[in-house]
Amino acid sequence: MAIVRIPTPLRRLTKEQDEVNSGASNVNDLIQDLEDQFPGIKDKICEDDGSIRKFINIYINDEDIRFLEGPETNIKEDDTISIIPAIAGGI
């Protein structure tokens, strides 16, 4: 199972767990799997049309999925996925 790191603002939906597991095979499936495990979370990660919100970045093993294949990017069993608010950092 891949490990998914949950950012602070979403932890109230994951019962304060900072890491959860998922057997999803790509990012789209991962978001649906998270929704099945933690109802309401998809609404926070995605816009109404299902696209990932502009203020959320998703990384697979340290690589921004926008440098990979976006929501279609495949996920392997030993991957670590991070969901990070885009607003953090820099000036």
């Binding site: 990070i84 820099g90 000036i91």
Partner: protein, 409 residues
Amino acid sequence: MSFVTCLKCIDCSPACEFEKQALYVCDDCFGPLEPSYDYERIKEELTIDKISKRPKNMWRYKELLPIDNEPTVGMNTGFTPLIKANNLAEVLGVKNLYIKNDGVNFPSLSFKDRVVAVALSKAIELGFDTVGCASTGNLANSVAAHSASAKLNSFIFIPSNLEEAKILGTSIYGKNVIGVNGNYDEVNRLCTEVIGSNKWGFVNINLRTYYAEGSKTVGYEIAEQLGWKAPKNIVVCMASGSLLTKIYKSINELVDLGLVEDNQTKIYGAQASGCSPISTAVKNGWETFKPVKPDTIAKSLAIGNPADGLNAINLLNDINSYSEDVSDDEIVSAMKLLAETEGIFTETAGGVTLGCTIKMLENGKINKDEDLVLVITGNGLKTQDPLVNNIKKPFIINPKLDEFNKIKY
């Protein structure tokens, strides 16, 4: 004395409101938060006369900064010189040119001293005893220096390949410095995960809502130093894009408060070509940016995934403004030009600002006949590496008069 009523999401409509706390993104959409001020009360309280009687530091505009009590950090920060740059103006063919020189800010020689002063004053109000940051260097210097004098613990995360001067200029203050093998975006991501497991105040993450407001003091000072007049054009370098949006906001606040007349101020962005997600989006008319992997000598601007990139792009498009980018060679040439004409040694980021200004004057985006202010954000003593092979070497002679007389200049 607080004039901040709540924190508001700038992306939701209607805006979500939150209580004042160490919160940096909207619960609903992850959009950025901004303090919301009671401008009616500020209008009654804040007058030019009142400001001019206060000490010459950034806190003379404290009503417009997001703290609830008297400031405790940065009592000597800000009010850096605004220089009428006649020599450079002549070279560029510009009528009235000014340099706002934050390369001589206190205590750590960059504009970051302003934002950190606000963030740490707020951190103390919120009860944090440990603060931290992810930094490309200048922020690290400033958090280390300010947290030393404020007697706060600090953890400072930097990319391990930073300029030696910026590492030394952080480590000297005796704080915890962590060099991470990765670029800024990776350091930053690590820090968001560190916050999750520690109750610390990270100035540019969970204190960011307050921290970013400190940049407004650059704009207030420029207007005051011009004799309470809003400039026509301002050029600012961009890393995350926050400085640009906050300076623009500051001028509009002064107009709305009736402290300056509206001069239809325009603000222009500047990036290094090796890391120009915002400029590339603006130049191509894109609504959003594509993140990039930075490769530039302007390391203080090397943020490939800019947090306020969207805001900056929206602003530049809304006001029909522009943004440029310059190569590493152009950056070095501009650094030399500023030093040779005005005696100001800026860091690479300042070379980006001047280099892009030259381009925008040449391509007609900036009108040479209108007042122009360049914001210089950091000091050249910190980024000497790229200059080593680009600067004339000294003449080496023995202590003999005839050897001196034989030198061909």
